[in-house]
Symmetry: C2
Subunit: 142 residues, 2 copies
């Protein structure tokens, strides 16, 4: 975990609270946790913490750059520490498995979009959906 997470918060005028520490630790340990999952993890240590606190805390932690989130399909976004090396998410529409791959894998595509359309993609922010190997071979087309 970012060693100076507390300093990071203080610098920007935020206070250090047990909730913030616990949420940050949970984001780290879960790796791809939704707010609900993060709450559950936090509550293993501090059962009184509220879901709204988790949402507010995630916003703060993201604001100071300690975490980011990715939209992985229809449900809640998932959060991860910015300690992790930047990665893209491949989400299988069949079995919902999430494959993380180095952000560099999208480098050429990103450069292309930049050049051709003047658009600077943040490809880590939205997952790429599709079918994983096993689901592609056993696909049932409705």
């Amino acid at each position: 975990m970012t060693e100076d997470w507390a300093g990071r918060l203080r610098e920007q005028g935020f206070r250090i609270t047990p909730q913030r520490q616990l949420v940050l630790e949970s984001v780290n340990s879960l790796e791809h946790g939704t707010p609900e999952e993060i709450l559950t993890e936090v509550q293993r240590t501090a059962s009184g913490v509220n879901l709204s606190t988790v949402y507010r805390t995630l916003e703060v932690l993201e604001g100071v750059g300690l975490i980011t989130h990715t939209h992985i399909g229809h449900g809640s976004p998932v959060y991860h520490s910015t300690d992790q090396s930047p990665h893209l998410h491949l989400v299988c529409d069949g079995c919902a498995v999430v494959i993380s791959i180095p952000a560099a894998a999208g480098g050429e595509f990103a450069a292309d979009l930049e050049e051709t359309y003047g658009f600077t993609p943040a490809m880590t922010h939205m997952a790429v959906t599709g079918l994983c190997k096993s689901c592609a071979s056993s696909t049932v087309v409705t």
Copy 2:
């Protein structure tokens, strides 16, 4: 609009109703409409149509292959006719503009994912977020 939309529905055992026609027409004319927007458009002709009907109808129309949807960030998905040539969506985080580009633009990237990870992406299903040219140059980083 797909000339034989009615046949397409009938073939699969669905009935032809004014609502289905109106929803399909609205999806066509709006090009990137959310369910709510589609309802509003439909209601210009038939004010009594209900939002739940729109949802159910979109599901049916997508099921028979007349329309598809794309997730464009946090809000509701947007629907488009399958008559349109397949395209990717670039969505600006700054001004929310949606740029449609030929699906072919992602071909190399897709081939790469396939080869390296055995993953077959459906890149038209999730938008690519990022910053458009003008927002990239005037970025206010909070």
